[in-house]
């Protein structure tokens, strides 16, 4: 009987960990330690600004990240203009000793001129807490720490010029103006997070 209860609890915990945050849910993992490429330890609560925080699950090698990342600096700027904090998080724990090591992250950020914090999520703790499954994938929280928008950056990974729907930027501007958005959740193809 005891064993059955332990198994049930284990399954329950596993499922709870895997469940993705829904729109309106409270932010989790506020104080989890993230190792930024500048050598400092950060947390979501350190980075959150008056209107909220944007977390992008990213990495060094995923072809979708590689295509979309030419928009990262512009997103960082939009965050700044709208009083929203921003961090790109690398949760590819299985690759943290190889292509997604902190050294490779530093190199990647330098080559691609990242102008924002890019931090390692040790053991993918934050990704598991969010129920995040892929890169790139964004979670935008409002000033109350409620999930306001999640999903894709926009509708065209291959070309910023051909974007028709700027989902994330529209959500950021709406958040800055304290307005509602119609599309609070979108999807795009991407790479699985390597937990």
């Amino acid at each position: 009987m005891k064993n059955i209860i332990i198994i049930c609890l284990t399954v329950l915990c596993f499922n709870l960990g895997a469940k993705e945050l829904s729109i309106g849910d409270d932010i989790v993992g506020l104080n989890y330690r993230l190792n930024n490429i500048d050598g400092k330890n950060l947390s979501i609560s350190d980075l959150k600004k008056e209107n909220g925080i944007l977390v992008i699950f990213s990495c060094n090698t995923c072809p979708w990240v590689v295509r979309w990342q030419d928009r990262y600096n512009s997103i960082a700027k939009t965050c700044e203009n709208n009083g929203v904090g921003f961090v790109a998080v690398n949760s590819n724990a299985r690759l943290h000793d190889s292509v997604d090591s902190i050294e490779e992250m530093i190199k990647h950020a330098r080559i691609n001129k990242y102008s924002f914090p890019y931090a390692m999520d040790q053991n993918a703790k934050l990704a598991k807490a969010f129920g995040a499954a892929k890169t790139p994938h964004v979670y935008l929280f409002n000033s109350d720490g409620k999930l306001f928008y999640k999903g894709a950056i926009d509708d065209n990974a291959k070309s910023a010029k051909k974007v028709k729907n700027n989902y994330l930027k529209d959500a950021l501007v709406a958040l800055g103006r304290n307005e509602k958005i119609e599309l609070s959740s979108t999807k795009a193809l991407g790479c699985s997070i390597k937990f």
């Binding site: 499954a133 291959k158 999807k187 795009a188 193809l189 991407g190 790479c191 699985s192």
Partner: protein, 173 residues
Amino acid sequence: MIYISSMRLIFLLLLSTYQFRCSTSDLEIKVVSADELFVDIKNNNSSKIVLVNIWSTWCIPCIEEFPYIVDLEKKYKNEDLMVVFVSADWDENSQAVYDFLVSEEVTGIHYRKKEGNDENFINEFSSFWSGALPFTGIYNKDMVLKKYWEGKKDEDFFKSSIDSLINMRGEKL
């Protein structure tokens, strides 16, 4: 000496032509939307269940699980299981997709996703799919989703998932 070299050259030319014809005639890659794919499957399927695996040439977990999914098709009877592979590669990777399939010695009809409209594509396969690759969905004859998972799984996981559906009575499927 010249005669032998010429004969050798002709033989090599014939051999290469033969190999090219084999690989092109035995393998067909259709570029489709999710809707077109579902219609194509329904028109060609005579199996109890259909396993759809969505992969990409640059997705390492996809490449790792690909060979044993190919083997599954051989292990199960035609009337039980149809396996469908769909590459999510962009147009510029079409040759890489072809080369990979040839290197895996697969034949028959394979699919590649039409570019654009990712969200519709994802939701057509499963509203629960986040968009992460690889994705595997198992559908009944009418292409109603019965099981799905994201990320790489081992061969035993595939087999037990397939077996549990094959062993179900028709009305439940």
